[in-house]
Subunit: 244 residues, 2 copies
């Protein structure tokens, strides 16, 4: 694959290649309940991780690490933290939402063959990192871009990914021996699936609606939706561009 | 494009589609100095923004907004903030690094036809958002995933994107009329380019090296690179998987 991609850096994308990217974006799902036991081949897992490692990073700091996990004891400790956090967060809402929330399947820690913790190490290539002095959070943002690369690459390989954020980061740090300065950003569950849902689970369940594209775009200033210098695109985004 | 993608949700990706995603990931660049004056067609810009809007979001909260900017006065105010922040951050390093840093071209605010501020609104669909109670930063992370979708979609369309993080968020908030609870996450410059560099500018300039994939992957615990249960993949990631 190396040579195949290398020669094409400045070339245009064919329609099918372009469609591949959009198809990955629009059919990507947060997977919790469709994992099958089939193992992920090491070549595929490496390719997915390499996609993550080629994310943009502030000042080229590449501040990410990826901890691959399959030890059942580690998974069990993380699952326990999930259950505790799910229970305590349910106390924040009233019925009937509370019961609905508690009924959702929100992780696949034990069923997925591979768990992956993605971490942020602010000390890497530091302390001075170009572009991180004015906005220190920019390092975190780089790690998130890596996660999205990973998610899309997994999707094209038929591998489902679920991000578990109902967790205690303190537990994660202890279980995975993270140094105090390293921040866990994501705990991910990866595995082949029997299907990718056509819509996000929380949309299907009626928990929240998909916003229209026109509701998230402003022009020149916050909340300006009718700026006269942007008339044409205002018409386009009113049409239904939602693929997924 | 809607139907073309809709029917394929659970289908496999062809090799060319898959290659399209990997090609986008490995040939994406942070663009500062290759913008050309050609305007971005509104249909293309809409498609790129729609890709961003279809990112994953914690609890399906879709907490992002996109502010499109082309007003020269706004751009000039942002550029001024960039210059001030670049100067003050240069005080943090000694020669010869300082002069090298100051010589780098690090933004294309005025040359790019479209600037775009991506913001995070924690109040959207709140205060209770599924998955954001234990790790409140998860909302920020969703916005970053949207930015990476946008970046990859832009790349397949031949549109370059540069992320400017040498900026004052206070200035951004004032210039764009952001409410106090809304956090600017990224200020992006978008436009067609005469070329995409084959490597990151900071790598070419010898500022920092690309890390090897094997240096960012651990097994089961922090810093464990030799766990016996992961032998095969340890061999694979030692080979040169770096495409870009």
């Amino acid at each position: 694959m190396k040579d195949r991609i290398k020669g094409k850096m400045t070339e245009k994308f064919t329609n099918e290649e372009k469609n591949g990217l959009y198809k990955a974006i629009h059919s990507r799902r947060d997977v919790r309940s469709h994992f099958i036991p089939k193992l992920i081949e090491d070549e595929i897992l490496s390719r997915i991780l390499n996609a993550a490692h080629h994310a943009p990073s502030v000042g080229f700091s590449q501040p990410w690490n990826f901890i691959l996990i399959k030890d059942p004891q580690t998974k069990a400790r993380i699952k326990k933290s999930f259950e505790e956090e799910k229970e305590s967060s349910s106390q924040l809402i009233e019925e009937p939402k509370k019961s609905k929330y508690l009924s959702f399947k929100l992780e696949g820690i034990l069923e997925s063959p591979v768990n992956l913790c993605v971490t942020y190490d602010p000390s890497k290539f530091g302390p001075f990192v170009i572009g991180r002095s004015s906005i220190p959070e920019a390092g975190l943002y780089s790690v998130c871009c890596a996660i999205q690369n990973l998610w899309l690459a997994a999707r094209t390989e038929g591998v489902g990914l679920g991000w578990v954020s109902i967790l205690s980061n303190d537990v994660l740090k202890e279980v995975l021996d993270l140094p105090s300065h390293v921040i866990p950003i994501a705990y991910l569950c990866l595995g082949y699936v029997d299907e990718f849902a056509s819509k996000p689970d929380l949309e299907t369940a009626g928990w929240l609606p998909r916003l229209s594209l026109k509701d998230v775009i402003y022009f020149e200033k916050w909340e300006d939706k009718e700026n006269l210098n942007w008339k044409n695109i205002q018409e386009i985004i009113k049409t239904n561009l939602d693929y997924a």
